[in-house]
Amino acid sequence: MTAVFIILSLVTVASAIAAMTLRNLVHCALSLAVTFAGLAALYLQLNAQFVGFAQILVYVGAVAILIVFAILLTRGSEPPAEAIFSSKWFVGVAVASVVFAVIAAAVLSSRALPSESASMPSASVRQLGDELMTRYILPLEVLGLLLTAALIGAVILALRETANEQSGGAK
């Protein structure tokens, strides 16, 4: 339990709470970016450099920007006049608290967790590339297919309605 870990986890958890409770959606998206950056720093703390930088590239760089675009396209940047939480919010919070309590109890009482590992494992990019190109080549190909399908699907989903409106207007 080093000071770096405590500070990083405090920043991450606090910005996650802010992302879930703030009223203005743009502020939510910015807090989410801070959460992702804190998680990337935690990965770097755990000596997983490649995953940390992939987290920054994919989440802070792409997903956060995508969410900001979606907020602006749906006019979510104007703060809502009505309540932001659903009327039965206490049920959701209670279930979430129970989930956290169960996981925390399981973590605390488990004896299967390794106590302390002496060696500091490292994963170089070369090792990762070797693994991805040999042992995990099939999942990698399937993932490429999935990303292509998701790209085409997202474009079609976001485009279809306007195409219908245009053809309807032409009649």
Binding site: M1, V51, A70
Partner: protein, 103 residues
């Protein structure tokens, strides 16, 4: 309290926060943000178990997280496209008002 416990606690807390937000917020985009938080909490668990686990030479944890990040990115893209499509149709992103299939 070993470092592994600390990371597992942070991940559990992130998961609970994301879950609470996903089920209580009204805006569909914030629901998606909550789901992203839950996925990230799972990723943190993978990395923590890889770092402190008995077989750190195997890169399974890292590779699994890389795949998980890619799948989560695809999910975010399709989810946001769905939200934009729903917004065009209903003129709202409030999930309580999208209730045409309610009996």
């Amino acid at each position: 309290m070993t470092p592994l416990h600390g990371y597992l606690f942070v991940a559990a807390l992130l998961f609970a926060i994301g879950f609470a937000g996903a089920v209580t917020r009204r805006n569909a985009i914030v629901v998606l943000i909550g789901i992203e938080l839950m996925l990230n909490a799972a990723n943190l668990n993978f990395i923590a178990f890889w770092r402190f686990g008995p077989h750190p030479d195997e890169l399974t944890g890292i590779v699994f997280v890389l795949f998980s990040i890619a799948v989560a990115a695809a999910e975010a893209a399709v989810g946001l496209a769905l939200i934009i499509s729903v917004y065009r149709h209903y003129k709202t992103t409030n999930v309580d008002r999208i209730d045409s299939m309610r009996g």
